[in-house]
């Protein structure tokens, strides 16, 4: 029966059970859950991008431009909270991870499908709580997304509810992590040895470990902020024996590894796309796989580099600075291996590959500017300036954001059975790429010149470059609009997409389009690696 369903046209889109919205929000099918995550994270990305646009509009000229100072404070806080906790952390792992991971392993679903659905519900509930917090109580939080004490313990804005929402979102992330670790250990098809696991799934494995081990720390930390606000225990208040720097330690113990939750799956996407569009097996498979684990491990020991100017001990600064440099090694291993994969390859510049290539450049710029911040001597000069803002947007948006769109152009046609148009995708990418660099490179220059971050107003000498950055934000968002519109229209109304047009050798390309409900008609036996194009019989 299941096989018959699987073979009918429309694959998993034709659910045999419930109808209407119930077929989605109560479905335990990893593909439906993945798509629900995708719609949510994409929606929040657009909300966050709109808030970012407003922030840039405010900064276009000195003095009040379109909003009050208090609104501006709330605006950059909500931009950060939405982008970090609602878009980028679940962005690739929960959406594309759910869509792709079980199929890449040759499994019919994740190890715990109901926990998977519960995880989506927690995400939805957490998101609703965060949204409610913006419009109730004392108004949207104005602390910055980092919720630093002592301000977060004192401000009259609705911090308690917002951090509780983030607390719930954290559990969603932990459950997804546990599910992926178990699935990778237990659900691999016969023949799917550890060295035949596609690198996207490998990156999700490393990510899942960070999700499981680090997220509980932020949960506790945020609860402490709430108790501090409600009960006034003085945990972080030095006049009562507390320590405000302790908050920063606890916050960054999670939030630094969290940037690897954000970037590692993006690196995995790139590792899967580059070989396919270069028609060459990946260079240094094992090194890329293990470097994901190395990044997860080393990245968990560098949180102190956010606190060089916070009054940490000098020895602590020295040690954390040294450890930070270690993370550059596995990151560079990946970049060199991607470039080596392309060397003498037959490269075809289609939309997924263009996003992947721009990832390499933008991530490298972001990574190298990260070393300027990781070195304590230089960080002290640019700390809390726009240089930092430019740096993390290079890594997070230039990295993860571009990888998200690379994944969308690469995998989504497989799941929708329809494809987007190539030309608008490329035009959108060009706008995004150019606008991105105008916006964020200018920010880095502004930071070097001394413009602080999170300031509502600035000195006249920063006016020209701020104007340029704002124009960049318009160009970039025009590109995002073209890309999203083209994807949306193409995936629902575009040309049919069948077979394996890009010639991928991993398992997701061996099954019907769209994938059947149970993914595989018969459990596959894996006989070749994920980038062994000859072994997979693709040209």
């Amino acid at each position: 029966m299941a096989h018959e369903t699987a073979m009918t046209e429309g694959g998993f889109w034709r659910d045999t059970g419930r109808t209407g919205i119930g077929a989605w929000i109560f479905s335990t099918d990893h593909k439906r859950i993945g798509l629900m995550y995708l719609y949510c994270v994409l929606g929040f990305f657009l909300v966050g991008a709109f808030l970012g646009l407003l922030i840039r509009l405010e900064l276009m000229a000195p003095g009040p431009t379109i909003m009050t100072a208090q609104t501006y404070n709330a605006m950059f806080t909500v931009h950060g909270v939405v982008m970090i906790f609602l878009f980028i952390i679940p962005g690739i792992p929960a959406s594309f991870g759910n869509l792709v991971l079980p199929i890449q392993l040759g499994a019919r679903d994740v190890a715990f499908p109901r926990v998977n659905l519960f995880s989506w519900w927690l995400y939805a509930i957490g998101a609703v709580i965060v949204l409610i917090s913006l419009f109730t109580g004392g108004g949207a939080p104005d602390t910055g997304w980092t919720f630093y004490v002592p301000f977060s313990a004192r401000t009259t804005t609705n911090v308690s509810l917002a951090v509780f929402g983030v607390f719930v979102l954290g559990f969603s992330s932990i459950l997804t992590g546990i599910n992926f670790i178990t699935t990778i250990h237990r659900m691999r098809a016969p023949g799917m040895t550890w060295t035949r696991i596609p690198l996207f799934t490998w990156s999700l494995y490393a990510t899942a470990w960070v999700q499981v081990l680090a997220t509980p720390i932020i949960a506790i930390t945020l609860l402490l902020v709430v108790t501090e606000r409600i009960l006034g225990l003085g945990l972080f208040d030095p006049t009562r024996g507390g320590d405000p720097v302790m908050y920063q330690h606890m916050f960054w113990i999670y939030s630094h590894p969290a940037v690897y939750i954000m970037i590692l799956p993006g690196m995995g996407v790139i590792s899967d796309i580059i070989p396919v569009f270069s028609r060459k097996p990946i260079f240094g498979y094992k090194m890329i796989a293990f470097s994901s684990l190395a990044i997860a491990a080393a990245g968990s020991a560098v949180w102190g580099h956010h606190m060089y100017t916070s009054g940490m001990s000098d020895l602590g600064v020295l040690v954390f600075s040294f450890l930070t440099f270690i993370v550059a090694i596995p990151s560079a291993i990946k970049v060199f291996n991607w470039v080596s994969t392309m060397y003498k390859g037959s490269i075809s510049l289609e939309a997924p590959m263009l996003f992947a290539l721009s990832f390499i450049l933008l991530f490298s710029i972001g990574g190298l500017s990260g070393l300027i911040l990781g070195a304590a001597a230089t960080d002290i000069h640019v700390h809390d300036t726009h240089f930092v803002v430019g740096h993390f947007h290079y890594v997070m948006f230039g990295g993860t954001g571009f990888a998200f769109f690379a994944a969308a152009h690469y995998w989504l046609p497989k799941y929708f059975g329809r494809r987007y148009q190539e030309k608008p995708a490329i035009i959108g990418w060009v706008f995004m790429f150019i606008g991105f660099n105008i916006l964020y490179f200018t920010m880095q220059v502004l930071g070097m010149e001394g413009m602080p971050r999170r300031y509502y107003d600035y000195l006249p000498e920063f006016a020209r470059l701020n104007f340029v950055a704002t124009v960049g934000s318009w160009i970039m968002l025009a590109g995002v609009a073209i890309v999203v519109w083209n994807l949306w229209r193409g995936l629902f109304k575009g040309e049919p997409f069948t077979g394996n047009p890009w010639g991928g050798a991993s398992l997701e390309w061996s099954i019907a389009t769209p994938p059947p409900t149970e993914n595989f008609e018969e459990d596959p036996v894996v006989t070749h690696g994920p980038y062994d194009f000859k072994g997979a019989g693709v040209p």
Binding site: L213, S300, A301, G311
Partner: protein
């Protein structure tokens, strides 16, 4: 993963022994506070607490009878937590 272990039910005798050991160690935790150990007081309390949690994990939580993989996973989690605490205290101690 081929190591499928049959369910292990511990005898009441063994469980009681562990329980008594935990009670003795709890008494030891209290007694150790009455001895002048100076800075080692905290270490003594932590050492006893570690042994107690080790017993709970090994017997009550069955870790002694689980496949090696689970023990590695537990170790990774404990190691990470120790790293987090150690890194934080490294700052506080040398501030």
């Amino acid at each position: 993963m081929t190591e499928e272990h049959a369910e292990h039910i511990l005898s009441y005798g063994k469980l009681t022994t562990v329980w008594v050991a935990l009670l003795v160690l709890t008494a030891a935790t209290i007694m150790v506070t009455r001895v002048e150990l100076g800075v080692w007081k905290v270490w003594a309390a932590l050492a006893i607490a570690s042994v107690k949690s080790g017993l709970v994990i090994a017997f009550f939580m069955h870790m002694k009878y689980e496949p090696r993989l689970f023990r590695i996973i537990l170790f990774v989690a404990l190691f990470t937590l120790a790293g987090f605490i150690g890194g934080t205290f490294f700052d506080v101690l040398y501030r």
